[in-house]
Amino acid sequence: MTLFLAGILTLLAAGVFQAATPRPARIACFALLAVAGLLLAGAGAMTTLMNGAESVLFAFPFPLETVTLELDALSAFFVLVISFGGIAGTIYGAGYLGGYPDRPLRGHLFAFALFILSMLLVVTAREVLPFLFAWELMSLSSLVLVFFDRRNDEVRDATVNYFVAMHVAFALILTGFLLFMTRSGSGEFSSFAAATADGPFAETALLILFAGFAIKAGFIPFHSWLPKAHPAAPSHVSGLMSGVMIKTGIYGILRFTLIVGVPTTRLALIVLALALLSAVVGVLYALAQHDLKRLLAYHSVENIGIIGIGIGLAMLGLRIGNGPLILLGMAGALLHVLNHALFKGLLFYGAGAVYRAAHTRDIEKLGGLIGKMPATAALFILGSVAISGLPPLNGFISEFVLYLAMFAGAPLAAGAFGAVVVLTAGSLALTGILALYCFTKACGIVFLGTPRSDAADRAHDPGGAMLAGMALLALAILAVGLLPAPFFAAVATVAATFPFPGDAAAQAAPIVATLGTVSRVLVLFLSLFAFLYYMRSRLLARNGGVAADATWGCGYRHATARMQYTASSYVSPLMALTGRLLGLHTHLERPQGLFPARTAFRSHPHDLVDAYLIAPGAKLIRYLFSLLRWVQSGDMAQYILYGVLFLAAALAWIMGGT
């Protein structure tokens, strides 16, 4: 705990001192202190994972009164995720901000420190007010980070949108807390368990809380802010927001599931259903995007869905007392929280490097970057393989655990529940393959082929710090992918803190063994690949080597960059099937005549939630408001009339009363 507190203080110091240091040294000073602080915090979390929960209590005057910071297994895990993601983000950010020598960055760096700090506090706070304070601090500091590129109007709109979404979430969470507080009579989370005696009441409160946290986490249909805010933010921030911040929503859901103990069936099924929806629809939306960072943002929705699947299964397991579902579902979800933090960070940083190099996020204008920025390309492809959940990388491990949960859990689940679990497995598979489709598109169109614009042609790899930040994540990805056993063991201990029928450790042990086998198989695969590749090179060398020539154009010799397959054309077969469901608007100018002058095809992905939920809502409110337009008409007599009428009504009411 002391380590953790020391870390927090160091982080705060980083935020404060950088303002005092002269501009050239500022970023470096900040980065050093921040990384140090995060290392301390992480170390603190590690020790708690080893030795069990610790907590510290501060006494404040009104209104906070008591502030308890506790590190139990769950909090410790999230602290680890935050600190690792934070370290990578800080290092990368140090490089990324190097590109703005003309800006003081005092405020930005301070907000950055507060942002990470507040996340650490959110996952350790144990009373209502401190939690809400930390939560709000998190939202506001991230808001400040989002409008880094302040001149841009698009950024401004995204900021407002983000702000409002965060406060709707805030209001919902507040309401949920208030409901619990009235029953428990205290602001301590631990006391909320008392409220669960009243089943339906607790369920309502939980549903409201879930809605609030779901907005932060970005579950469909609560995701609307996410694909707007994340692209607007500078990449080192989007990486952290997408990789780490939205996980605080997941944390909230887990924390209160843990407090409540056994959720109702309805709640579990709602979570599962929304999770599946988010996973599948999220990735479908991602496929339709042309903006690289928007695409990644929608993948965050998808991955939140995958995490949600794990949580939903675990909730179901808690309800029907199904060991594998609880243990493996929860473990899979937590593992995926970590994994998503790793590869989504990496991918956003890669996208940032591309944006920095080519000055566009439009996939259709990129291409062939692998030649110009090989390191970034390699790292991005690595991330893509990982996020597609493919072996031998970390994404596969968490999905593997989830499949295990389903295969092992389904037979033990009575009647229809079993079928639900199997259908979940099918949807998870669909999600995985769609992700694969989407990231072959992202890698293929952005990095491979020939450049589609001069900007892309002039691109080059970023500097050391940015690459270092990405490399750090890449290493972690490989580590989790190739040596999953210890990581699983860790999350299993966290999962075991949930009310579990039977001995969790005993159930976890065989899985650890299995994962050992998995890593051996993966090693076998890699060596086989190495061998084959060696063979191939040898053979080619022997057979008279490789001749370079133009790509086979089916007889046509003058292929240009513009003749390449574009992202839209690559996904067009799928869009032909699902486009209408997604509200994809396409616009085609067919070639006319023998010698067509021009022909064009455009496609605009529209988010159905925006189109059919939020826009009409806003319209309705605007309409209702317009009903009150007459109030401030400017006519004084009318103003006085209000008072007179009110008076008359009041007197009539009194006369009626007496």
Partner: protein
């Protein structure tokens, strides 16, 4: 005696509700001031001489002479002879005037049945005056007419005080008088400024400050 005075007061406003000539308004206001003075003078025995002097000053000098005189001068200067097309046509306002009276007395009747101590006649007249005052403020267009409406309100309030025999402490009375005095002064001041700012000072001209949601 006081009955007759009170009724006279009432007749005054009834007449007022159906005229639209400025001068009539002013005359009625002055008349009411006079009546109020007489009503006070009637029972000066109960008052200590200072309060009496003070109240009579308020009603006689202030309400009866000074204010009507100033209003008169403004009317003279700005040639607003009559309230041009009030929202409700003449005949309508006659009907409304009488209706208001009936309503006023209905209320009074109801009140006096609950609290017999109230003196029904002046109370009823006061209430009706009040309503008429609001009626004028709400329907008339000329700003000066609205000021007169406000004066009517003040007179109604004074009558109400007399009707309910409520005595406020002297300090308070002084303050109230001071306020009303300054207020009317301000009214007249800004009325002058408005006249110089707008060629024709009707309520509709003052609607530049407004909002749309």
């Amino acid at each position: 005696m006081s009955q007759i005075l009170t009724i006279l007061f009432g007749v005054g406003i009834l007449y007022l509700s159906l005229t639209s000539r400025m001068r009539t308004y002013i005359q009625v206001i002055a008349l009411q001031g006079l009546i109020l003075f007489l009503l006070i003078a009637r029972d000066f025995g109960e008052l200590d001489w200072f309060t009496f002097f003070f109240l009579s000053f308020e009603t006689l000098a202030f309400k009866t002479l000074i204010v009507p005189a100033v209003l008169w001068r403004i009317v003279e200067r700005t040639h607003v002879a009559r309230e041009t097309d009030p929202h409700i046509p003449q005949f309508g306002s006659v009907v409304i005037g009488t209706a208001v009276f009936l309503a006023g007395f209905a209320v009074t009747d109801w009140v006096s049945r609950i609290d017999p101590s109230v003196d029904a006649l002046p109370f009823g007249i006061a209430v009706s005056t009040l309503i008429i005052a609001f009626f004028i403020i709400l329907t008339r267009k000329k700003l000066i007419t609205q000021v007169m409406g406000y004066m009517l309100m003040q007179n109604a309030v004074s009558l109400l005080m007399i009707a309910m025999a409520v005595e406020l402490p002297l300090l308070v009375n002084l303050g109230v008088l001071l306020d009303i005095f300054t207020l009317l002064f301000l009214f007249l001041l800004f009325l002058g400024k408005l006249h110089s700012a707008y060629e024709e000072t009707s309520r509709e001209r003052l609607t530049s400050l407004r909002d749309q949601p």
